[in-house]
Symmetry: C2
Subunit: 406 residues, 2 copies
């Protein structure tokens, strides 16, 4: 007997028929004697329609009212699943964010969970009742509904698993688990059986869409065993666990790509101390995150070119910032380019194996792919390349690190 | 400057375009210096779709979960209206039932409002903020969402007007006000300018669909001035007020009809003391409301026929009750008939004018319409007739009491 959290996304609850399939899975676990807490998203499409309405209502909308509108989605699915479960003879009840309560900060639209008071749910789980909790939503310190931002139901599920001290948190999705690369691009990609929190965190933040980054952070901090698995099969999926639970590491676990960033290049900046601060200070003040940075001396030796990447949505604001600093920077011009992609190789094995970076650069060079910027962490190397080469680069690297399925 | 409650139904908030029209009306009142509390229904069609989902989910569903699902409708509209108002420069915020809070009893699906704690809303109204409150919903003593039943937003609006000590409660609808008869049947029906609470209560409970009965009760008990008016025009509508505010009464104010009831006749019941108790006791124990009752001696003088009406939805249960009491009643058989309609004439003037009933019976007799049952109150006479004669009876009575528009 275990205490488990089961999270189902929007495609798994898209209509009553699918909600019934979810109920059958929940019932199977409950019948087997497990204590089950279910976390649901809104029906696929519902959240998008609600967001569309808020856009029609007002261009610049109050995030507090936005949260009132979009949180209606999960409210429907939790009520419906609780009904279907009861109809199958399973003792169940729904819980909205404010009822649990899932307490968050007041950052409407992308709130962070501060605390989950789960005592009442624990008591009911122990009495054999299934809890059906609305994901994605919480309640602010002043009693208003908050939402956690896109993919927030993963975060709700993992945070609930932590608060309930659950034995496992199953994230049900429309793929079989976490793959060594996007299977739509790399046909020989393999499902990963076990992966460390650190690797999963890099995969999630470098473009793998299977888990929300924030949910992996919480899982890592609270040592929640997360399993990513398919709603449509009984296969075991991918287990995200502590390093100690993994006996042998691959050098590289996976290859990701992300088109979320754009490249900004400032040409002919005066090459003197303080220039970097003059560029990046104002960007930071405007809450614009800068990822990769390259500075190269220009031909005349008296000036430099600076290249960096920002989120695509921030490009216009970044250009405005730089324009405001033109006098101080004395630069010639600025070029923005969003025809770029960031490709990353990720693996904890990198820490003990030399030559991982060299293999990456060699592999890309052999295909004639130019590297425009590089960033690294202890377990990750990312390169920025021309977007046209995305598939070629990902497939070549997948082979080069021996990840191809037999 | 006045404090007003404005309630808009589902057709008035059916899409963003119409929500914008509502916002303009609210803004006009706020700009004129009024303190405005808006009460909204769900978008037309939304509640029906949500109810349909609950039916698909489970035949016998938990009313607590039903309330979770269907209350999502008003949640969307209040958030959207608050956004649109803010976009127009009006200070506004949304309130869900549990946020106000609107405290109800625990009768899920048809809860009664116990108390509205309106101090915070009053404070904000005085500070110039428009309150946008979700109608139809409240919160039970144990913190779960409740709904007030069909048309419950009228009740929310009037109860809020009472709690806020509002000067007026405007019920915006798709007709111009309360009419002397259903204009779809009686082309010469007239809009009523002023009507008493008592008359409105009879009109609402005898089939006029313009206001929920419960909302009129609350208005009467708390002396809330209710105005029924059109969302689509600036015409003043119908004012529902205390008798003291009306100088001259019509003898009859309006004619209504209702197809909500069915007739049950028990043939040849033993004619002895205690029989009525044996018939109506079990019905009452099963929470079946009986309206009209007629007892007539049968030909042999030793038995009687008993006819009564119940809500159509209760017919099957009523028949089961009677079957269970067959031994005690010793009756011959039971006939149920739902091809009947109840036609009522209503007016406080009846109290001081004789001959109202006589005119009704004469008018119907002249058209060859047989009266199957009669019930009366101080300001109302209802007759049960064959449903085929509905339009004929209503039109004839409308003329007979001098209600036809010139």
């Amino acid at each position: 007997m275990a205490r488990i959290v089961q999270k189902f996304g929007g495609t798994s609850v898209a209509d009553i028929e699918r909600i019934r399939s979810v109920a059958e899975r929940v019932k199977a676990a409950a019948d087997a004697g497990d204590q089950v807490c279910v976390v649901l998203s809104a029906m696929a499409g519902t959240t998008n329609r609600l967001i569309e309405w808020t856009r029609e209502a007002a261009k610049l909308h109050d995030a507090r009212e936005y949260d009132v509108v979009v949180s209606a989605g999960e409210q429907m699915t939790v009520g419906l699943l609780a009904m279907v479960l009861q109809d199958m003879g399973v003792n169940a009840r729904s819980w909205l964010g404010w009822q649990v309560p899932v307490r968050t900060d007041g950052t409407h639209g992308s709130a962070r969970i501060a605390e989950i008071q789960a005592a009442e749910i624990v008591k009911r789980l122990e009495d054999g009742q299934v809890a059906v909790v609305a994901g994605f939503q919480g309640v602010s310190p002043d009693g208003r509904i908050t939402t956690l931002g896109r993919g927030g139901s993963d975060t709700s599920a993992v945070a609930l698993a932590a608060a309930l001290e659950a034995d496992r948190c199953d994230i049900f999705t429309d793929v079989e688990g976490v793959y060594t690369a996007d299977p739509r691009i790399v046909t020989r990609a393999r499902k990963i059986d076990r992966i460390t929190y650190e690797e999963m965190l890099e995969l999630a933040s470098q473009g793998a869409k299977v888990l929300q980054t924030r949910s992996v952070e919480i899982a890592m901090n609270h040592q929640v065993r997360v399993q990513v698995r398919s709603s449509f099969s009984q296969a075991p999926g991918t287990l995200v666990v502590d390093e100690a639970e993994i006996v042998e590491f691959e050098v590289v676990s996976g290859i990701t790509y992300s088109s979320a960033e754009a490249k900004v290049t400032i040409l002919a900046v005066a090459d003197r101390p303080g220039v970097a601060a003059a560029v990046f200070g104002p960007l930071s003040d405007s809450n614009i995150n800068v990822d990769m940075i390259v500075q190269s001396a220009s031909a005349d030796g008296r000036s430099a070119d600076i290249t960096f990447t920002v989120n695509r949505g921030d490009v216009d604001r970044a250009l405005t910032c730089l324009e405001a600093a033109r006098e101080e920077l004395g630069h010639h011009s600025v070029i923005a380019d969003d025809e770029v992609v960031k490709v990353s190789v990720i693996g904890v094995g990198m820490r003990s194996h030399a030559g991982v970076a060299k293999r990456m650069f060699t592999t890309l060079a052999e295909r004639g792919i130019n590297i425009q910027a590089i960033s690294t962490s202890e377990i990750k190397i990312s390169v920025l390349i021309d977007a046209e080469y995305t598939e070629l680069a990902v497939r070549a690297l997948h082979s080069a690190y021996g990840l191809d399925a037999a």
